[in-house]
Symmetry: C2
Subunit: 483 residues, 2 copies
């Protein structure tokens, strides 16, 4: 894997065409290129050859057409909060920066939906919605753009109740590899009219097209919200509580697990004083009577699994502090080891396998000796175990790679997936064959059909065809469980 070619790699005719189109919004400065070549993870920067700051769908179409004519890659970019090297220009090319496309096109309270340009961030949308009593529920922590969240099929703390981007996106505007524009679906709440193009582009990470607008479902801000912090003596007891609560049908809006290392980092970073023990952070949404009933039922389950003193929070400011602290986990980790970067693992398993997966990983982690910390959207069976690595220490990166590989292969063996919400990007392509087997050939067929020249964010999602290069790729060894 070599660095991307220098800016001069772009044909002068292409640069000229893009400059004529965008003027000063086409940049080849080193600073701009460097900024657009990396995300928030440990992945090394891969600067693009140029950055195109687009202002409209028509401009995206024009940029893609120009790049297609020159067979030059295009890499969509929102605000760069992804975590698996999604935005790196691993084969050079033009970064399409959509952050300037940040208009809220329509909010329709009657239909509980909104249409926004791809560069609108979730906080921007929620600020706009607040006075209407509505909110956009998907919350990955980072203030990502909705285009980026659709592209990576993001989710987060609320997904257990309100769904992920898969369930939340109603329709997309997409520029295809030839520069043509499609709308993936009508705004009808449901439809059986042909192939589900919306869901095909959600999670496609820019490899099939560039998302330029997003229509999403909205929800009413709940009448009552009740927060809770519930410490446990062990991770196993916390997980047993989660499983029983999910099975009993409790409609929890959030149920997040942190291990003691995470609580310690959060306390230090956000100046809080939670007991430094495995802890569930919860939120209940509903009517005033409803949330009290949910909370009582949850507390009974938690007690039966050895929960320690629960703290309840009916005050909004207090709850905001709690969730802001949870959202700052990434930065709290970083503060624990200056100079290090976070390797944020992200697997998701059937909830029946969660305790086993966590226990085996905890043991592995302890033996390896990394500073690591756990946060989990455990109601979905999804968790992140971040480890702090110094990217310049090759041995450390290699050890993290092996640890991550053992964790991912364990999750796949247990019937799970290599990524619950971060996406495949550049970093997890090697896990696609063990996870998907033959189905990967269908993905390759679709990619080849919709992007025949391979210009759409190349080097992401699909592994290069390198037989034998996959982890655990022994002949005849299928790590997936019989289903």
């Amino acid at each position: 894997m070599s660095d991307g070619p220098p800016a001069s790699a772009l044909a002068p005719a292409l640069l000229e065409r893009l400059r004529a189109l965008l003027g000063g919004r086409l940049s080849t400065s080193e600073a701009d290129r460097a900024h657009h070549g990396h995300d928030e993870s440990w992945h090394p920067a891969r600067p693009p050859d140029a950055v195109a700051r687009v202002a409209s769908t028509e401009e995206v179409q024009a940029v893609v057409r120009a790049c297609a004519a020159h067979r030059v890659p295009v890499i969509p970019f929102g605000v760069g909060t992804s975590l698996e090297g999604h935005v790196g220009a691993v084969r050079g090319g033009v970064c399409i920066d959509l952050s300037g496309m940040n208009r809220i096109i329509a909010v329709r309270p009657q239909d509980l939906d909104a249409t926004v340009e791809a560069g609108v961030t979730r906080k921007q949308l929620n600020a706009d919605l607040r006075d209407l009593g509505l909110f956009f529920a998907v919350d990955p922590g980072a203030d990502a753009t909705l285009g980026g969240m659709a592209a990576t099929r993001a989710s987060g703390t609320n997904a257990v109740r309100y769904g992920t981007m898969r369930e939340t996106v109603v329709s997309l505007g997409v520029v295809l590899a030839d520069g043509s524009f499609i709308r993936t679906a009508s705004r009808a709440r449901k439809s059986s009219a042909g192939y589900d193009l919306t869901r095909l582009f959600v999670g496609s990470e820019g490899t099939l097209g560039v998302i330029t607008d997003v229509t999403v479902r909205l929800f009413g801000i709940p009448e009552a919200v009740l927060g809770a912090v519930c410490p446990f003596p062990s991770i196993a007891q916390a997980v047993a509580t989660v499983i029983e609560a999910i099975q009993s049908g409790l409609p929890m809006a959030r149920i997040e697990l942190m291990d003691s290392n995470t609580v310690r980092a959060v306390n230090a970073f956000s100046k809080l004083a939670y007991a430094e023990t495995p802890t569930l952070f919860l939120e209940f949404h509903g009517s005033p009577a409803g949330v009290e009933e949910q909370a009582r039922n949850f507390a009974a389950i938690a007690d039966s699994h050895g929960a320690q003193a629960m703290q309840w929070s009916r005050d909004q400011a207090e709850r905001s502090r709690l969730w802001q602290a949870r959202h700052n986990v990434h930065y709290a980790f970083l503060a624990q080891r200056p100079g290090a970067k976070v390797w944020p693992t992200d697997v998701c398993v059937p909830i029946s396998a969660l305790a086993e997966c966590l226990a085996a990983t905890e043991k592995d982690m302890a033996e390896t000796g990394f500073y690591s910390a756990l946060v989990g959207h455990v109601g979905d069976g999804n968790f992140h175990w971040g480890f702090l690595v110094r990217p310049e220490d090759a041995a450390e990166v290699a050890a993290a790679e092996r640890l991550n590989e053992r964790l991912v292969m364990r999750a796949i063996r247990l019937g799970g997936t290599c990524t619950g919400e971060h996406g495949v990007g550049h970093g997890k392509r090697k896990f696609m064959p063990p996870e998907h087997g033959e189905a990967l050939s269908v993905m390759r067929t679709i990619k080849a059909a919709l992007d025949p020249h391979g210009i759409m964010n190349p080097g992401k999602v699909l592994p290069d065809a390198e037989p034998g290069a996959e982890p655990g790729a022994e002949p005849g060894a299928d790590p997936r469980p019989a289903r």
Copy 2:
């Protein structure tokens, strides 16, 4: 459009290969062929050349491989309850009858999911689940197979609360056009690992592959269920109630609209005595206190829109009678005009457009003079206005066709879809261009890539390329609203 070719159209070598494979489970009898050539709608029968009663995924693979070698179409068949000519062998070929593949492979209460063979029906699965306190929520009325429901992206009365097959299917086993087998996803509750093949095959109506097993989400049977029947002076008042209830976030499990004709047909067929006026049938699920709270909130909204005396039903046997009567609407219609068949329209619009769409259609229907009756899953903006036609009366069929076309184009103009849940089949292909525009080319590209010889249920979903043959296809006239 001519009838399919006779059985002798299949090459003797192919028939021999299929007989060697299936023995007596390969049939070319006229009765078998006739039975497998039609669904429950007005669409004329199009018998296949042979019927292959398969017993395993491996047999499906072998049948598809044999047919692929001879470039002969394969048409998947469950129990034939579809409504848009999905199972007609419009280009001849071999019907793959999956109804014998009816094993429940696994039920996993901890994970709230189950895996079944494609031929398992929803009532069969629910009977199996009852003792576990779980249920499969998608309920289209007919006792369809789960394979068929996945293939048509079915939904029904519960979708407003529990989702459609789009949200319910976790993973599929699929035999592709070359006979290879894929699993579309792991059982993880969420994943960002590549293209969403599950959602691609859900709703693909056998045109991309044959679904052989289905993994679905399950829900706990609610602790308390409360039914209600709520009559209104007008459809408009009923719809205004629905819109306000949805907007206020009331988590209704079912909210179904019937017009006075439908209530009359239901009363006659099921020996009931509901007031013959526009009526909402409702169901609330939750805790005992929760359903009472929902019911109070709903009643307040309904009262403000002129609801007449509401009837509440806490008794399960009574509720079962109510919903059985609702599910028998199709047969209640048929009984109103012996010899006629039902033309079951099926559009879905953004809920803000529902009142306008219903009012315009009601007027059109009255002017046309058809015997028609309305049932609507109005919480989703989805409704059916069935008209009774005699298929042998060409003028009547043509008039129905025009009425249907006006309704569908109205729904598309209002931002909706030509089908909310029945699917495209053979009958609605002509509405795909006005609904999808350029996006249809992406569907065609995917179809060509995954089924290069066009053997997978040909003549369904995608229209034949006949320029100018689409309704409303005036140059430059895009019926879709600006979004």
